[in-house]
């Protein structure tokens, strides 16, 4: 295929960054941040996901249609999370007798 391919050096750097992020996630797990533990872990995970998609999966050099497909997938994940949380976060708004 005639697509642009990154240099080995770029790949190695991305790989190093991914490993570093993994170490980071593990390290953070030992620090008690309260509810923010999850937030930090997810943030790191999102960064890793972006690195993999953009570099390893070549989305950075892909056509607009391919990017649309990637964005569509993310949007659908967002739908799943948003509407599910819409239930979970509002479940206790109405008082339940005896609870």
């Amino acid at each position: 295929m005639s697509e642009h391919i990154d240099s080995v050096k770029t790949y190695a750097l991305v790989f190093a960054a991914l490993i570093a992020a993994t170490v980071g996630t593990t390290a953070v797990a030992f620090v008690d941040l309260g509810p923010f533990s999850v937030v930090v872990a997810l943030l790191i995970a999102v960064c890793k996901m972006l690195l993999v998609a953009l570099f390893f999966m070549h989305v950075r050099h892909s056509t607009r249609l391919t990017r649309l497909v990637v964005l569509g997938g993310l949007l659908w994940l967002l739908i799943l999370i948003a509407l599910t949380m819409g239930d979970i976060l509002t479940r206790n708004w109405v008082g339940v007798p005896g609870r």
Binding site: G72, L83, T84, D87, I88
Partner: protein
């Protein structure tokens, strides 16, 4: 009679013989037939389970099978019918065969992946079937936690893994369709010239690709909880059982559109051909498919109205559910408008299309009933819901599937089916269907819960009617099996375009050559432009 010594024209069926030429084929047409064979098997298997369910329900006492066996029966019925028949039924058979032909392509974009997806369905199906039979899975096709985790054996997980495997079959089929539609259209085949069958399969493919991975993830999470005791759905481990329902229905509501959209695609073709008019409001019907695909992802919470879902979420889901009805209604109205002043022929496929329109409308409207919060609290988990979805899935999808099979049978096999017998069986199916499922609306409304086999005496009359209808329906389904096979040898030889249809699949011999077209077609007209076939001889109708 003088038999001419002309060698038979080469086509996809006679170009190679032997078991290997089938099991290793990459021809989308042959793979379509492999699927046809497979899903037919699962259909009759699921039908056998249904027969036992209906026999049990003849009497108010549970005296034919035990409660445990009854639970296993409806589970096996649901799993076989939904995951291994309805989901692949139309896209993987007729879609596989005709989507490439209708856009003037020589095959799907990824022929090997197409074959792989058939193997995945077979492996997943056999795996689930074995697990269900060996382990006695009794959770229902929905696998709700904690039935499927805390209160069950590990065969449940094995069954779900079979579904996981066959899910990839569905994803790969969808992927193949999307790429094919984007990349393989013949010259002149613009998006707005594509037959509506192709549009609806494109929309279906999007759902398959976007939705199925979620059910796969859900099954993996079940597995993790069962095997590694990671708390996801089990409250004692810190999980949330309702989360399972969210994730399951995020896939499974859109999945009902995987079952109905291809059926709608068939009906669009049939209504147009047999009234010899372009589909009224072509663009609306095309975009309605896309709208259904997208909106279908926003309504899953209507399955959770009584599952401790927040009332606020329930309100939103109920509201959104009414939106899906709009594109569905657009289609029904547009098909009806297509008939207006058409030159209507009542050939068998058209009878099925009529059956579809009526029964789908009843199924869809009762969907709106159960999407209303207050009404659903009354009828949820009753036979009303059972009747609702059987009107759509059996009255809708299977009707359209049979209509499509009859319509394309001459193209697939090169033979006509016997019209008289076919009309008779279409009639028997329609009557049998209504006799089976209409009483279930009343039963449910009166309070007969689903998934119970012991019931109060006053429900017996309606249950007996339903079982009687099921027997009629069974006869109706067996008849096409017999005359289709009969027609392979004795049916009238079909011409290239027996219906005078406009689709590209009819512009090539029946059965088609290996690469579909001897010369790549060049498209110069809209999909349903009957001026292109004026003067051509129509054999039937």
């Amino acid at each position: 009679m003088i038999t001419a010594a002309v060698p038979e024209r080469e086509n996809y069926l006679n170009n190679a013989y032997g078991i290997k030429s089938w099991l290793l084929t990459r021809d989308h047409k042959r793979i379509g037939l492999l699927y046809l064979f497979t899903v037919t098997l699962f259909f009759f298997l699921g039908g056998a389970f249904a027969t036992m369910i209906r026999i049990e329900l003849l009497t108010p006492q549970g005296n034919f099978v035990s409660s445990e066996t009854y639970n296993k029966l409806f589970t096996m019925h649901g799993v076989a019918m939904i995951f291994f028949f309805l989901i692949p039924a139309i896209p993987a058979t007729l879609g596989n065969f005709f989507l490439p032909m209708m856009i003037g392509a020589r095959d799907l974009a990824f022929p090997r992946i197409n074959l792989l997806s058939w193997y995945l369905l077979v492996i997943g199906g056999l795996f689930s079937l074995f697990a269900m039979l060996a382990g006695g899975v009794d959770t229902g096709w929905t696998f709700y936690t904690p039935y499927s985790t805390t209160y069950s054996n590990s065969w449940v997980i094995a069954t779900a893994l079979g579904i996981f495997i066959s899910g990839f079959s569905s994803i790969l089929t969808g992927l193949n369709f999307i790429v094919t539609v984007h990349r393989m259209r013949a010259p002149g085949m613009t998006w707005m010239r594509m037959p509506l069958f192709v549009w609806s399969h494109y929309a279906t493919a999007l759902i398959q690709v976007l939705g199925t991975p979620v059910v796969a993830v859900t099954i993996i999470l079940l597995f993790c909880e069962r095997v590694f005791h990671i708390g996801i759905f089990d409250p004692t481990l810190g999980g949330d059982p309702v989360l399972f329902q969210h994730m399951f229905w995020f896939y499974s509501h859109p999945a009902v559109y995987i079952m109905i959209l291809p059926a709608m695609g068939i009906v669009s073709e049939l209504v147009s051909v047999f009234s010899r008019k372009p589909v009224f409001g072509y663009q609306f019907v095309a975009y309605a498919s896309m709208a259904i695909a997208v909106l279908g992802f926003l309504v899953w919470g209507h399955h959770l109205f009584v599952s401790t879902q927040s009332v606020y979420a329930a309100l939103v889901f109920s509201f959104l559910s009414y939106f899906v009805a709009i594109p569905s209604a657009i289609k029904v109205f547009n098909w009806t408008a297509t008939l207006y002043k058409g030159s209507i022929s009542f050939a068998t496929p058209m009878l099925y299309a009529f059956g579809f329109i009526g029964l789908f409308t009843i199924g869809g409207l009762t969907g709106l009933f159960v999407a209303a919060l207050g009404f659903d609290v009354h009828v949820t988990d009753t036979y009303f819901v059972v009747a609702h979805f059987h009107y759509i899935m059996v009255g809708g999808t299977i009707m359209a599937y049979l209509g499509g099979l009859h319509y394309w049978w001459p193209k697939i096999t090169g033979r006509m089916y016997p019209e008289g017998w076919a009309k008779l069986s279409a009639l028997i199916i329609f009557l049998g269907f209504n006799l089976t499922f209409f009483p279930q609306f009343i039963l449910g409304y009166l309070g007969m819960p689903r998934r119970y086999h012991v019931y109060p005496d006053e429900f017996q009359v309606l249950h007996v009617l339903s079982t009687a209808g099921a027997s009629v329906l069974a006869v109706g389904y067996l008849m096409p099996m017999i005359y289709f096979i009969w027609s392979l040898r004795y049916g009238k030889v079909a011409s290239a375009n027996p219906w005078g249809a406009t689709g590209l699949e009819w512009q090539t011999p029946s059965p088609p050559p290996v690469h579909n077209f001897d010369v790549t077609p060049i498209v110069t007209h809209d999909a349903y432009d009957y001026s292109t076939v004026i003067g051509q001889e129509v054999e039937v109708g």
